[in-house]
C-alpha cells in the first residue's frame, strides 16, 4: 500500500537518479585520481632511478665495486624501495640490495626484462612510459612499481682504463628498482570509501529533503482532499477544506470547496423540487379522483334544486347539499393551487390597508355575532413587500377563527399593528440543522411552537435518551426525554451517526460548561451551552446582521382560548377543533404564508380568557 504513495515514488525516482549520477561521477573521479597518483609515483620512481644511476656513475667508471655495493645497499634500505638491482647485458645481477641475488641470472621473460625483450631482438631505446610496470611479486603481496633504467654506453665507458666495455656495445646493463605501492593503494582505497560515503549521504539527504517537501506540498493537501471527498461522499455537504495552499493544489482545493457548495445547493433544490413534485402529483391525483364523484353529487343536487322550485322545504335542504359540495370544490381547488404552489406575487403595500380590507370581507359575520372590533393601528408603518392576497387570507382566517372562538354572546377582537426593532436573538428560526457529518437533526414529528425541533441523543448520569431543542435561536422551550439535572454534564450525539455534538475545546462564557455546536447548511454554526438552565447561545452569522425592523401585528380575542395540550398542534394540517365546521387547513396555510414572507407567528392563549396571535413580518430589506 505505502509503495503506491506519490511521495515514495518520487523519492525512489529521485534516489535512483542520484545514485546513477553519483556512481558515474565517482567512477571517473576515482579513475582519474588513481591515474594522477600513479603518474606522480612513476615520475618519482624514474627520477629516483636516474638519481641512483648518476650516483653510481663515478663508481662504475672507476670500477669501485665495493663503493657501488655500499651505495645500492644503503638505497635499498629505504622502506618504500623494495629492491635495487643492476644487471649486465646477459642478465647477470651484478649489484643488488638483496645480496643473495648477486651472481644469479634474470630470466628474460621476467617482469624487469619483459619491456625490452618482448621481441627476440632486444630494444635499445625505451620511452619513459615503457620503462615502468606495475605488478605483484606474489599473489597475495601488495602491488609494486618496477622501473628499469638501461645504462647506455658512453665515451668515458670505453675510454676508461679498465676497458671493460667495447665501443660498439650500446646498452651496458640495466638498473632496476622496484617501489612498493602500499601507500598509494591505501590512499586510493581511502578516497574510494570517501566517495561511497558521500554518495550514500547525498542520496539520503536529497531523498529526505524531497520527501519532506513532497509531504508538505503534495501529501498533506492530497490527503485533505481525499478526506474531504470521502466526507462529501458520505453526505457531509457543509465540509470545507481549511488552510488552502497557494499553489495548483490549493486551486484544486478551492474548486473542490466551491463544487461542494454548489452540490449542496443543487441537492437542496432537488430535494425541495422533488418533494413538491411528488406532493403535486399526489394532490393532482386526489383532485381528479375526488372531482368526478363530486360532479355526480353537484350536478344532481343542483339539478334537483332547479326542479324543486315550488317545494321550499326540499329546496332549502338541497341548497345545503349544493353549497357544501361547492365548498368541497373550493377545497380541492385550493389543494391543487397548493400543489402548484403559486409563487407569492409580492408588491409594496400598507399592512393597515390589508387588514382593513380583510375586515370588510368578514364584516357580516362579525356583525351577526355581535363582535366588537378594536383597531389600534400605528401610522408610521413603512410599506412592506408582501403578497397582498396571501396576507389578506392570513387576516381573514385569523379574524374568522377569533370570531368562531368568541361564540354567540359577543366579545371583542383587537387588531393592532406596530413597528418594532428586534435583534435576531429570540426570533430567528433554525430551519435546518445538521451534525458535522451532515445528518439532519430536524425532527418533523416533534414540533415546538409549530416548528420542527432539533433532535439530539443525550447521555447524562448513565441515562440515555433524546432531547428536542427549541428551533428558535435564543429560545429554550426544550423537551427533555430523560431525567436531567443541573449538576451533571451531558453528552450530546447525532441520533444517526453518534458523532459527538459537544465541542470539548470550547466552554460557555457564562457558566464555563461545555458547549454543543450544530451546523446549518447555509448560515454557519450555532453554539449553545449544555448546562440545564444556562441560556447562552451564539449564532455569529445571524448576530452579525444586527437589529432589523419588523412590523408586528397582534390579533387578540376574548374567546374560549386554546387548550394547553392542543396548542402545539394548531399548525398541523387537518388539525381542527371546529369539528365539522373547519377543514383544519387554515392555520397551517397561515403558517406557510408567514414563513414564505420570512416572518413568524406565535400564539399565547388562556383557556376561557382568549387567544392572542402575534405575527412579525420583516420590514423592507435595504
Amino acid at each position: 500500500m505505502w509503495l503506491k504513495k506519490i511521495a515514495l515514488k518520487l523519492i525512489l525516482a529521485v534516489g535512483i537518479t542520484t545514485i546513477s549520477i553519483i556512481s558515474v561521477y565517482s567512477y571517473f573521479n576515482i579513475v582519474s585520481q588513481s591515474d594522477a597518483l600513479l603518474a606522480e609515483v612513476e615520475r618519482h620512481a624514474i627520477q629516483q632511478s636516474e638519481t641512483i644511476k648518476s650516483s653510481t656513475r663515478y663508481g662504475m667508471l672507476l670500477n669501485l665495486r665495493d663503493h657501488i655495493h655500499e651505495n645500492i645497499n644503503t638505497i635499498g634500505l629505504q622502506s618504500c624501495i623494495k629492491g635495487v638491482r643492476i644487471f649486465n647485458k646477459v642478465g647477470e645481477i651484478i649489484y643488488s640490495s638483496n645480496t643473495n641475488d648477486i651472481g644469479t641470472f634474470v630470466d628474460k621473460k621476467a617482469e624487469s626484462c619483459y619491456a625490452c625483450h618482448v621481441a627476440d631482438q632486444p630494444l635499445e631505446r625505451l620511452t619513459t612510459k615503457e620503462r615502468t610496470r606495475i605488478f605483484r611479486l606474489s599473489e597475495d603481496s601488495s602491488r609494486v612499481l618496477g622501473v628499469i633504467n638501461p645504462i647506455y654506453s658512453e665515451q668515458s665507458c670505453w675510454d676508461a682504463d679498465c676497458h671493460a666495455h667495447s665501443k660498439d656495445q650500446k646498452v651496458l646493463g640495466v638498473l632496476d628498482i622496484t617501489i612498493c605501492l602500499v601507500d598509494v593503494d591505501k590512499q586510493l582505497e581511502e578516497s574510494k570509501i570517501k566517495v561511497v560515503i558521500f554518495a550514500v549521504f547525498s542520496i539520503f539527504a536529497i531523498s529526505s529533503i524531497i520527501g519532506l517537501f513532497v509531504k508538505k506540498w503534495v501529501d498533506k493537501p492530497v490527503t485533505d482532499l481525499v478526506d474531504a471527498t470521502k466526507l462529501v461522499a458520505s453526505g457531509n455537504f457543509i465540509y470545507k477544506i481549511k488552510n488552502v495552499s497557494k499553489d495548483e493544489l490549493g486551486d484544486l482545493q478551492k474548486s473542490f470547496n466551491l463544487m461542494t457548495k454548489k452540490l449542496a445547493e443543487a441537492r437542496k433544490q432537488l430535494f425541495q423540487s422533488d418533494k413538491m413534485a411528488s406532493m403535486g402529483r399526489l394532490a393532482a391525483g386526489v383532485a381528479h379522483e375526488i372531482n368526478n364523484p363530486l360532479t355526480g353529487i353537484l350536478s344532481y343536487s343542483s339539478f334537483l334544486l332547479k326542479r324543486a322550485e315550488r317545494n321550499s322545504e326540499l329546496k332549502n335542504d338541497l341548497k345545503v347539499i349544493v353549497s357544501e359540495t361547492m365548498r368541497c370544490r373550493d377545497i380541492v381547488k385550493s389543494l391543487l393551487d397548493f400543489a402548484r404552489q403559486s409563487v407569492p406575487k409580492k408588491n409594496k403595500s400598507d399592512i393597515n390597508q390589508i387588514i382593513e380590507r380583510s375586515l370588510t370581507v368578514v364584516e357580516n359575520q362579525l356583525n351577526i355575532k355581535k363582535i366588537n372590533v378594536m383597531k389600534n393601528f400605528a401610522s408610521n408603518l413603512p410599506e412592506i413587500i408582501v403578497d397582498i392576497n396571501q396576507i389578506q387570507q392570513v387576516f381573514v382566517n385569523l379574524i374568522v377563527n377569533a370570531a368562531d372562538a368568541t361564540g354567540e354572546y359577543g366579545g371583542t377582537i383587537t387588531l393592532s399593528t406596530s413597528l418594532i426593532s428586534l435583534s435576531p436573538f429570540g426570533i430567528t428560526q433554525i430551519k435546518n440543522a445538521t451534525c458535522p457529518k451532515n445528518h439532519n437533526l430536524m425532527d418533523n414529528d416533534f414540533k415546538i411552537n409549530g416548528m420542527p425541533s432539533i433532535k439530539m441523543k443525550a447521555i447524562t448520569d448513565g441515562n440515555e435518551g433524546y432531547i428536542n431543542f427549541d428551533p428558535v435561536y435564543g429560545k429554550h422551550k426544550n423537551h427533555y426525554g430523560l431525567p436531567f439535572s443541573k449538576k451533571k454534564l451531558v453528552e450530546l450525539y447525532c441520533p444517526e451517526c453518534n458523532t459527538p455534538m459537544v465541542d470539548k475545546t470550547l466552554f460557555c462564557p457564562k457558566c464555563n460548561s461545555p458547549i454543543y455546536k450544530i451546523f446549518t447548511t447555509d448560515q454557519g454554526n450555532i453554539e449553545g451551552c449544555t448546562k440545564l438552565g444556562c441560556h447562552w447561545q451564539r449564532w455569529k452569522e445571524i448576530d452579525s446582521q444586527g437589529e432589523r425592523q419588523y412590523i408586528e401585528i397582534d390579533v387578540s380575542d376574548t374567546g374560549c382560548g386554546i387548550k394547553k395540550e392542543n396548542i402545539d398542534r394548531i399548525y398541523e394540517p387537518f388539525y381542527s377543533t371546529k369539528g365539522q365546521k373547519g377543514t383544519g387547513l387554515g392555520l397551517s396555510v397561515i403558517w406557510g404564508i408567514i414563513d414564505n414572507h420570512k416572518g413568524r407567528i406565535t400564539v399565547k392563549s388562556e383557556e376561557g380568557k382568549g387567544t392572542n396571535f402575534k405575527i412579525i413580518i420583516p420590514g423592507s430589506v435595504n
Binding site: A284, A287, H288, N291, P293, T295, G296, L298, S299, N347
Partner: protein, 268 residues
C-alpha cells in the same frame, strides 16, 4: 338533417354521463353518451351532433385526440371540454386546440346549462354562416370578427399589444353573441394580477346567472374600463375598441401567445 341529435357526451364515468343526460333532457335536448373517444368517433361518423361535451382524461385516448380528429376530418361540431384535473394549462390547451369552451368539474346544473346554451348558439351561428342559403335574412352580419392584428384565446377573449408594450384585453363579439343580452359585468380591481386561462370577469345575462370570461394573457391590471361596468351596452356595441376590459402589463407575453390564435385566422 336526418338523425340530428343535440349533444354527444363523452366521459368514462357513468354517473357523469347520467347526470348530464338528465339535465339535458330537462332542457329538452336529445343526447347520446359514450365512454371513450373511439366510441365517440364511431358515433360521429354515423350521426350528426350539434354539440359534443368531452372529458379530457379518458382511458387510452385522451379528449384532445377527439379535437384533433374533428379538425382533420373537417367536422365543425363545437366541443366543450371538461375535466376533473381542472388546471389553467388544460383550459388554455383545450381552447387552443379548438374547443369552444372549458368546463371544470365539478359543475352545477346551471353552469352546465349555461355552457350548453352558449355552445348550441355558437353551433347555430356556425351553421348559418356555412349554409348562407338557409339563412332567412341573407345579408345580416352574424358577428363581427376581431381585427386582424388582435390575438384571441379560443373564441372567448382577445388581446392587443399596444406600442408601449402594455396590452388591452376584451371579449370577442362571437362570445357575446352566444349569450343573451348582457345585464351587467363584474370586473376585477386595479393592481391585481390575472392569469391566462383563469376567470377575469363575470357576465350576467338573462338566461344564466354568470358567464366566466377567461383571460387571454397573464399580467397585472393597470387600468380598468369602468365605463362598461356602468354601461354594459358599450360592450355589445363596440367590443373591440371602446368595450375593452383591462389594460395590463403582461408578465409572460412571448410564452403565452403560443396558445393564442391570430384573429386573421377565421373562427370557422
Amino acid at each position: 338533417m336526418n338523425n340530428l341529435i343535440d349533444i354527444l357526451i363523452v366521459d368514462d364515468e357513468k354517473v357523469i354521463l347520467d347526470s348530464v343526460e338528465r339535465i339535458c333532457s330537462f332542457e329538452n335536448l336529445k343526447t347520446d353518451k359514450v365512454y371513450s373517444v373511439n366510441e365517440a368517433i364511431k358515433k360521429i361518423q354515423k350521426k350528426n351532433y350539434r354539440l359534443i361535451i368531452c372529458d379530457i382524461m379518458l382511458p387510452e385516448i385522451d379528449g384532445f385526440e377527439l379535437l384533433e380528429y374533428l379538425r382533420t376530418s373537417e367536422i365543425e361540431t363545437p366541443v366543450i371540454m371538461t375535466t376533473g384535473y381542472s388546471t389553467v394549462e388544460n383550459a388554455v390547451q383545450s381552447l387552443y386546440k379548438g374547443a369552444i369552451d372549458f368546463l371544470p368539474k365539478p359543475f352545477t346544473a346551471d353552469e352546465l346549462c349555461c355552457a350548453i346554451h352558449r355552445g348550441l348558439k355558437l353551433a347555430d351561428i356556425q351553421y348559418k354562416l356555412n349554409h348562407p342559403e338557409k339563412n332567412d335574412n341573407y345579408d345580416s352580419v352574424l358577428y363581427v370578427p376581431c381585427p386582424p392584428k388582435y390575438l384571441r384565446l379560443g373564441y372567448y377573449s382577445w388581446v392587443f399589444k399596444e406600442f408601449d408594450g402594455n396590452v388591452l384585453i376584451g371579449i370577442t363579439d362571437l362570445f357575446l353573441k352566444t349569450m343573451d343580452s348582457v345585464k351587467s359585468i363584474n370586473l376585477i380591481t386595479q393592481n391585481v394580477e390575472i392569469v391566462q386561462g383563469y376567470s377575469c370577469a363575470n357576465i350576467e345575462t338573462g338566461d344564466c346567472e354568470e358567464h366566466m370570461v377567461l383571460s387571454p394573457i397573464t399580467g397585472r391590471i393597470i387600468e380598468v374600463n369602468n365605463k362598461i361596468e356602468s354601461e354594459a351596452s358599450i360592450l355589445e356595441k363596440n367590443p373591440y375598441f371602446e368595450g375593452w376590459l383591462y389594460r395590463l402589463i403582461p408578465s409572460n407575453y412571448e410564452q403565452e401567445i403560443k396558445y393564442l390564435t391570430s384573429c386573421s385566422t377565421e373562427m370557422f
